[in-house]
C-alpha cells in the first residue's frame, strides 16, 4: 500500500526534518520502503516550504508525490499553496493556531505550536509534536519506529525535549481521534 505524505509550513519550522524523520522511521525502523523529497528553493528561507515522503511495502519506483493521501500543514500560506486542493479521501493534520482555513477532507486540528510554546516552553519542537499527532491518528508508522527515528535525528542534548514533544503529540492525536468518534 503506497502512502504519500505531504508536509508544508514556513521555512524554519522543520518541515523537511519532519519528512526525513518519518521516512527514516518507515525505512530503517519499520522495514518498509520510503523516499523523501522536497521542494528545494528560496522557499526554504521563509515562504511556503514543502517536503514529502512516500511509504510503501513494495519498492518505490516513481519517487515524486503525485496524489498525497496524508497532509501535514503548519501554516496558512502552506495550506493555500499545498493543502487547499486535498481530495475528499485524504486526511489532513493542521496546526490549529497557524492555519485559519479548514479543508473539505477529514482533518485533525492539532494545537502543536501553542502546546509546544505553553507546555514545553520551546516552540521549536512544534514539528515534532505534529509528527506525534500524525502517527497517533494515521498509524502510518509505528510509535516505536518514530521514537527511534526522532532520537536518531535530533541534536545531542535535545533528546528528552524531543521525546516529550513526540509523546505530547501522541496524546493530542489520540484526543483528536476520540473527539472525532464522539
Amino acid at each position: 500500500m503506497r502512502h504519500e505524505v505531504r508536509f508544508s509550513g514556513f521555512g524554519g519550522q522543520g518541515i523537511i526534518l519532519s519528512a526525513v524523520i518519518l521516512g527514516r522511521a518507515a525505512a530503517i525502523h519499520d522495514g518498509k520502503n520510503a523516499v523523501q523529497t522536497q521542494v528545494y528553493g528560496p522557499e526554504a528561507r521563509g515562504g511556503a516550504s514543502m517536503s514529502a515522503v512516500i511509504i510503501d511495502d513494495e519498492p518505490i519506483l516513481y519517487p515524486e508525490v503525485t496524489s498525497p493521501d496524508v497532509y501535514v500543514i503548519m501554516s496558512q500560506e502552506g495550506f493555500l499553496k499545498y493543502g487547499a486542493g486535498a481530495p475528499e479521501s485524504a486526511v489532513m493534520l493542521l496546526d490549529a493556531e497557524l492555519v485559519q482555513d479548514r479543508p473539505s477532507c477529514r482533518y485533525h486540528a492539532v494545537p502543536a505550536t501553542s502546546e509546544a510554546k505553553n507546555t514545553l516552553k520551546k516552540v521549536i519542537v512544534a514539528n515534532i509534536v505534529m509528527l506525534g499527532a500524525l502517527v497517533a491518528t494515521t498509524g502510518i508508522v509505528s510509535e516505536a519506529a518514530i521514537e527511534k527515528a526522532v532520537l536518531d535525528s535530533v541534536p545531542k542534548g535535545t533528546e528528552d525535549l524531543n521525546l516529550q514533544a513526540l509523546r505530547l503529540g501522541f496524546d493530542l492525536g489520540r484526543r483528536s481521534m476520540k473527539d472525532e468518534a464522539a
Partner: protein, 360 residues
C-alpha cells in the same frame, strides 16, 4: 541517506582522498560532506577559488597517485571544460560529478535537468572520448561513484558521474557494502616510456614522487612525454589512441539492463527518468513494453539496442530536449523518438503509458 551524501560516501569508500571544489547548487552537499569527512580519513579537502582551479587541483592531486574528485553543476561544469581537455590529453584519472540543473547559463539552480550529457562528451575541443555513468537511485549514487574511480584509473581518463537534482537531493534507504572492490591504478614499469601503451592503449601511471622523471604536457607529445606538436604522425597516433582506448573498450565497460527484450515498443533511459519508466512498466504489467536502462552512458553501448530484436520504436525520455536520443538514433535503423521534459519535473508515468500505448 541523501543522494549527494551517498555520492561522497561512495567516493570515500573507493579510496578518494582528495576533493577540490567550489560549492554550487545543487551539488553543495557533496563538498560539505567531503569537508567534514576528508580530514578524518587522512585525505585533503580544498575549497578552491573557482571551478577552473577546482579541476586543476584535482588533476594535480591525481598525479601524486591519489584518487581525486570534484563536484559541480552546470555553470561550474562549463568553467571546467578547458582543464578537462588537459586531463584527457595528459591521461589523468579523475572523477567529476555533475549534479545537473536547468540551463543554459545560471538557469534553474534548484531544479533537475539532464542538459549536460553532450557537454560532458564533447565539451572539450579536439577529438576526445570520456566515460560517464548515470545513477537512478541513492544506492546507485554510492555504487556508481565508487565505480567511476575504477573506470578512471583503469582507462586513465576523466570519468563523469552525470546525476541530477532529483537523485542528488532525494533520500532513500541504502545498503552500504562492507567493502568496495578497488582495482588500483597500474603503475608504469620502471624503464618504460611514460606514454607508451600496450595493447589496451593505456600506459602505466608514473605517479609523482616514485622516482619517475616525467614531463606532463597538454601539447601533443611523443611516448617520452615531450612536446611534438608539428609532426602529423605523432598527433594522429596519440589522439587516435586516446579515443580508441575508451571506444574500443565499450563492451568491456558496458553496464545496462534489458527488460522485456521481445517488446515492440522500447524505452531507453538513464538517471532519474529510469524511475518513471520502471513505474510505467510496473503499472502496465503486461510485458509489452521493453526497457534499456543505461548505467554507463558514455561510451554508449551501441550493441545493446540489438537486444530488442522486435523493436519498432525506441522512446527516449530525458530531462532535456533530446540529447542522448540523437546518439541512439545514429546507431539504429529503428526510429528513436525523444520524449523531452524540461523545467525540473520528472516524466509522469501516466504520460509514458499513454505514449507507449499510442505505438502498440
Amino acid at each position: 541517506m541523501q543522494g549527494n551524501t551517498a555520492c561522497a560516501e561512495g567516493a570515500l569508500a573507493a579510496g578518494c582522498r582528495f576533493f577540490g571544489g567550489y560549492p554550487i547548487t545543487p551539488s553543495t552537499e557533496i563538498a560539505e560532506l567531503m569537508a567534514r569527512r576528508m580530514p578524518k580519513v587522512g585525505g585533503t579537502f580544498v575549497q578552491m577559488e573557482d571551478e577552473l582551479a577546482s579541476i586543476a587541483s584535482v588533476i594535480g592531486a591525481s598525479w601524486t597517485g591519489t584518487r581525486a574528485m570534484t563536484a559541480t553543476s552546470g555553470p561550474g561544469f562549463s568553467l571546467m571544460m578547458e582543464n578537462i581537455g588537459y586531463a584527457i590529453m595528459t591521461e589523468t584519472p579523475c572523477v567529476i560529478v555533475d549534479v545537473q540543473r536547468g540551463g543554459p547559463s545560471t538557469g534553474q539552480p534548484t531544479r533537475a535537468a539532464q542538459g549536460d550529457m553532450m557537454q560532458c562528451r564533447f565539451g572539450s575541443h579536439g577529438d576526445t572520448s570520456i566515460i560517464a555513468v548515470s545513477p537512478a537511485s541513492v544506492q546507485e549514487m554510492y555504487e556508481l561513484t565508487a565505480k567511476a574511480f575504477d573506470l578512471a584509473d583503469r582507462y586513465r581518463v576523466p570519468t563523469f558521474v552525470m546525476t541530477d537534482e532529483i537523485i542528488g537531493h532525494m533520500r532513500e534507504r541504502i545498503a552500504i557494502p562492507d567493502a568496495v572492490g578497488i582495482t588500483p591504478r597500474r603503475p608504469l614499469e620502471q624503464g618504460s616510456l611514460p606514454f607508451a601503451a600496450g595493447e589496451d592503449g593505456v600506459p602505466g601511471f608514473p605517479a609523482f614522487g616514485n622516482g619517475y622523471g616525467v614531463h606532463v604536457t597538454g601539447l601533443t607529445h611523443d611516448e617520452r612525454g615531450y612536446p611534438s606538436s608539428t609532426d602529423p604522425h605523432v598527433h594522429a597516433r596519440l589522439v587516435s589512441r586516446l579515443v580508441e582506448k575508451v571506444e574500443g573498450a565499450r563492451r568491456e565497460m558496458a553496464d545496462f539492463t534489458v527488460t522485456n527484450p521481445d517488446a515492440e515498443v522500447v524505452f531507453i533511459s538513464y538517471g532519474a527518468p529510469v524511475r518513471s519508466v520502471e513505474q510505467a512498466i510496473r503499472d502496465m504489467d503486461d510485458g509489452r513494453i521493453g526497457h534499456l536502462r543505461l548505467r554507463v552512458v558514455w561510451p554508449f553501448p551501441d550493441f545493446a539496442l540489438a537486444a530488442f530484436t522486435s523493436a519498432r520504436v525506441f522512446l527516449m525520455p530525458e530531462l532535456n530536449l533530446g540529447q542522448m536520443a540523437r546518439e541512439a538514433a545514429r546507431l539504429t535503423n529503428v526510429p528513436v523518438v525523444p520524449v523531452p521534459e524540461i523545467g525540473g519535473e520528472l516524466h509522469l508515468p501516466d504520460r509514458l503509458i499513454a505514449l507507449a500505448e499510442g505505438y502498440l
